[in-house]
């Protein structure tokens, strides 16, 4: 009989159950010190020093790599850089130049602080203007961490190596394996300020559209007479309370000064007007609200609202109709207090686009990459009696969605936004019909904002 019996398994060692005891409950956020880490780098936007924008070449290092300054003769695979364009240094002691009297050689040094988004190392290089319109190449000679915390800034000292000669610049750029752009605004908003070049290009484009769309929106739809946003192209003035309320809550006078002229009209006597709509879901970015949103809407005469002049109700504003939910979720009080309102026979009517030039619609790259037969940029608001979006959107069907609806779904489901689709929508928006402009542009603006913040 063998001493060791391979068929018999060894006894499993008994491990005492620890039960996962932790000192503090994870959800409780009191004053007790615990080891949970909250990044505070977003708060470190105010760093001492005056701004100096440079192109920074940060060494890409492995765990065993040694630091080295730019060695022009070193092969690229042994010296790689990450280029950060437009990095802002916070200069604490400006460049001081000393000429050695024996050799007549200049030594130009300075000191600066860095934002916490980057860890500098001795040997990193940067290109910067040295004052007389010429560019110089600097090398980091000292990198000092300012605190032991996870989020900390660094102080660097640097020395001028040379004017930026084509040989040195060519060598540096050849050794760049990744190019990032420093966007200070992102730092202020607690986002990673180092962005890919392509992303920066998209952001600039989206930001341009954002300003343009919002200015055009208020110019087109703000009624001077009613001092609110009025649905365009209708024979009588119609008011969409849900849209106006949303527009007022997400845009500020920084975005567009005209917004101060917009009034929210009083329809507060009817609880149904407090229903959850698609706008609430978009504002909260909460997919769970989908089930509770009103789906269909019609029009109700303002005569059905309170007529007491003291209350300045909508009846007294001159607006004739209000967009009204057809399938509201009624509160317990409602049945007791209110009688049901009559839905008007009147419906919204389609309005043609103000831009009638087909070339304008097709020109440029507005429709490039867009397969017209498959996905329409937008569906008509009046495609069915569902509120704004089509039935396919409300029923969460995989087909029949417009590009805007697909983008909205991506946004609600927290998926990476499809920038190309967003840009297509932005560039074609001016040619949409007026009713579509009225409803879809605020949604598009919400999507633009979210996609910029998602980078």
């Amino acid at each position: 009989m063998p001493i060791v019996d391979p068929t018999q398994t060894s006894p499993v060692p008994q491990v005492p159950a620890t039960g996962g005891v932790v000192a503090t409950q994870p959800k409780y956020k009191g004053v007790t010190v615990d080891t949970e880490y909250v990044s505070s780098s977003a708060l470190m936007t105010h760093i001492e020093g005056s701004s100096w924008t440079v192109n920074y070449y940060s060494q890409v290092l492995g765990a065993d790599s040694a630091l080295a300054g730019q060695n022009v003769n070193r092969n690229t695979i042994y010296q790689q850089y990450k280029l950060i364009q437009g990095l802002e240094l916070k200069v604490t002691s400006p460049l001081t130049s000393v000429q050695d009297q024996e050799t007549k050689a200049f030594s130009i040094v300075g000191t600066a602080n860095l934002y916490p988004c980057i860890i500098p190392n001795e040997g990193d290089m940067f290109l910067a203007d040295i004052g007389d319109g010429r560019e110089g190449i600097f090398r980091i000679t000292l990198s000092e961490r300012k605190a032991i915390f996870k989020d900390t800034s660094h102080t660097i000292e640097y020395i001028l190596i040379d004017y930026s000669t084509p040989e040195r610049i060519g060598d540096l750029n050849m050794k760049v394996i990744d190019t990032l752009v420093f966007v200070r605004d992102f730092l202020k908003h607690g986002q990673n300020p180092l962005l890919q070049v392509e992303d920066v290009k998209i952001i600039n484009e989206l930001q341009g559209y954002y300003g343009e769309l919002i200015a055009r929106y208020f110019k087109s739809f703000l009624s001077n007479e009613y001092k609110t946003l009025i649905i365009p192209g209708q024979e009588i003035p119609i008011y969409d309370h849900f849209l106006v309320k949303t527009v007022m809550s997400i845009f500020t006078t920084y975005d567009c000064p005209e917004i101060q002229n917009v009034r929210i009209l009083n329809i507060d006597d009817d609880d149904i007007m407090k229903s959850t709509t698609i706008w609430d879901m978009l504002k909260a970015k909460d997919r769970k609200m989908h089930k509770f949103c009103i789906r269909q809407a019609g029009l109700v005469s303002t005569k059905d609202f309170i007529r007491d002049p003291m209350m300045e109700g909508i009846y007294h504003t001159g607006v004739k109709y209000v967009v009204y939910p057809l399938d509201p979720m009624l509160s317990v009080d409602y049945g007791m207090k209110h009688k049901e309102k009559a839905i008007a026979i009147q419906t919204l009517i389609d309005t043609p686009s103000q831009v009638t030039n087909l070339n304008d619609l097709l020109g440029g790259n507005g429709l490039s990459g867009l397969t017209l037969n498959e996905v329409q940029p937008i569906n008509k608001v009046l495609i069915d009696d569902y509120y704004i979006f089509s039935q396919a959107f409300y029923d969460r069907e995989p087909t029949g969605l417009s590009m805007l609806e697909v983008c909205t779904n991506e946004y609600l489901d927290d998926k990476a936004p499809n920038m190309a689709n967003l840009l297509t929508l932005c560039s074609t928006a001016h040619a949409w019909n007026r009713l579509e402009n009225f409803y879809y542009i605020p949604i598009l603006l919400i999507l633009i904002k979210a996609s910029i913040h998602s980078l």
Binding site: A66, A68, G69, R74, N75, I77, Y78, I119, H154
Partner: protein, 518 residues
């Protein structure tokens, strides 16, 4: 055949640091240093990187002054004893690229490096330090203080070589090619250790060779045990210093060999060696524009020429042609690298048109009469041979007509290169009597040939006298015999026939029209 040495582009990151860190990690394991000990091996900047700034490092970590740490300073010396015996061109190292079809090869060049790693080992307390020291003490007792290591490193193939290879490949494919891409040709003819290295972004692909050196013996540089060490800072850490020595062959460069002629095309001027700079032997043999004393010294030098130096003239002048064998008892007048004319592939050369040189008219006249005898053994004082690459071909492969045009009798491949060797028999006792008689009966040519073969015949007054009249001139049988005996005596006194032949520089048989490379 051009030979070229180029240093490898980078050794520090590709060889020195990987080898040193590999051995340090061996030692950490062998001597029981905790695996999480920080290794501090700063480069020339002498500062280590900020924690968290390297790719594999966790962010938000800081170094403290009181943990386990191994600081390294490396001292590298070249081993002087081996400096002169470093194999650059001569055979020693294995090829990393070799294509015998076009006689192209690359091999590495190593230089012995004497490495000394100076350690400063900081333990987090004295107990750990003493325990480690005791471990070493026990291991020394067990003869474990000498270890064998394996060094792993790589080096890049010098980019200049790849440029030359690409040019050779282009020429190889241009005429009678194999329809093979450069990558395929390069990879199939390279060592299995060939690899491609890139940046982290996958750009700048470079070809490199990965190597492993086995059995590198390393030894601790202390007597018995390392010193006890001392407490050095405010904490409880303990620091012990010791050093470790080893030697390895560090790759410093690569040597490349390639032919002048690839598939019947001469390589471009910029890939040819400069004879006056790159071929020392040729430079010595052609003392132009130099003071008299140098010429005199050069003449003296010629008597001590190494065996490998060939007398005679190379056409073109930058051609370093060293055949595998030569016909016995002959000396080269010239060798000519021939290119094959596609319109007349058999015609190789005309002895009347040799470019930068021409055979003396008296000799040329005599040569016409020798044509029928030239390919018979000992049939003529002249010999004519054809070489394919470095190999001597049979005499039947050549023919020569009365116009002195040399033709090949068999079809020649465009993928090989060919040389014509025109030589003289040195030992005239070995040629047929009828050949000697013909020479004797053409006194002007005989005197030119004999005086070219052996200058000392002139100085010793042994050059035969010309007899007869202007129509018929000849030299006497006895004069001829005296001259032949004098020459043979010289060869015999040299002891070695081959060395004896080196004296015979037959360059005066030809007239050089100009001294340029072509």
């Amino acid at each position: 055949m051009p030979k070229l040495f180029m240093p490898v582009p980078e050794v520090e990151e590709s060889a020195t640091r990987p080898v040193v860190l590999g051995i340090v990690r061996d030692l950490i394991e062998l001597t029981g240093i905790p695996a999480d000990t920080i290794i501090s091996y700063p480069g020339d900047i002498e500062k280590v990187k900020q924690p968290g700034s390297a790719n594999q490092q966790e962010a938000g970590v800081n170094n403290m002054s009181f943990g386990n740490k191994l600081s390294i300073v490396v001292d590298e010396q070249y081993e002087m004893e081996r400096l002169l015996s470093t194999a650059v061109y001569y055979p020693e190292n294995l090829f990393i690229f070799r294509d015998d079809r076009i006689e192209t090869s690359i091999k590495p060049v190593y230089s012995s490096a004497d490495m000394s790693i100076n350690f400063k080992y900081r333990t987090n307390d004295k107990v750990a330090a003493m325990r480690w020291r005791d471990t070493i003490r026990a291991r020394v007792a067990m003869m474990w203080d000498m270890r064998q290591h394996t060094a792993e490193y790589h080096y890049l193939i010098p980019p200049e070589f790849l440029v030359i290879l690409q040019e050779l490949h282009r020429m190889r494919e241009a005429v009678d090619g194999y329809d093979e891409t450069f990558e395929h040709w390069f990879k199939t003819n390279s060592t299995n250790n060939l690899t491609q290295l890139t940046t982290l972004a996958g750009t700048h692909a470079s070809y490199g060779i990965v190597e492993k050196q086995l059995r590198i013996v390393g030894v601790f540089d202390f007597d018995g045990v390392p010193e006890a060490g001392s407490k050095e800072d405010e904490g409880d850490t303990w620091t012990i210093s010791f050093s470790y020595k080893f030697k390895y062959d560090k790759p410093i460069g690569c040597a490349m060999f390639y032919p002048l002629m690839v598939h019947n095309q001469l390589v471009d001027q910029k890939y040819r060696p400069n004879p006056l700079v790159d071929i020392p032997d040729v430079a010595e043999n052609t003392p132009h524009n130099c003071p008299l004393s140098v010429s005199a010294f050069s003449a003296f030098e010629k008597t001590n020429n190494p065996v490998s130096t060939m007398p005679g003239i190379a056409i073109p002048s930058f051609d370093e042609f060293f055949p595998n064998s030569i016909p016995t008892n002959t000396v080269r007048v010239f060798t000519a690298l021939v290119d094959i004319d596609p319109t007349d592939p058999a015609l190789l050369l005309s002895l009347k048109k040799l470019g930068s040189i021409s055979i003396k008219p008296v000799v040329l006249d005599f040569l016409i009469g020798e044509v029928p005898f030239m390919f018979k053994d000992g049939g003529s004082i002249f010999t004519l041979n054809l070489y394919r690459d470095h190999d001597l071909l049979d005499k039947t492969h050549l023919s020569i007509d009365a116009n002195l045009d040399i033709r090949a009798t068999v079809p020649l491949s465009l993928r090989n290169y060919y040389h014509i060797r025109f030589g003289l028999n040195v030992d005239l006792t070995l040629i047929q009597q009828s050949a000697l008689d013909r020479l004797r009966n053409n006194a002007a040519a005989a005197i030119a040939i004999l005086s070219a073969l052996d200058q000392s015949l002139v100085t010793n007054g042994l050059l035969p006298n010309m007899l007869g009249n202007s129509n018929l001139n000849y030299i006497s049988r006895i004069d001829m015999m005296n001259a032949i005996n004098a020459m043979n005596k010289q060869i015999i006194t040299k002891g070695n026939r081959q060395q004896g032949y080196q004296m015979f520089t037959v360059e005066s048989l030809v007239i050089k029209s100009f001294l340029k490379n072509n």
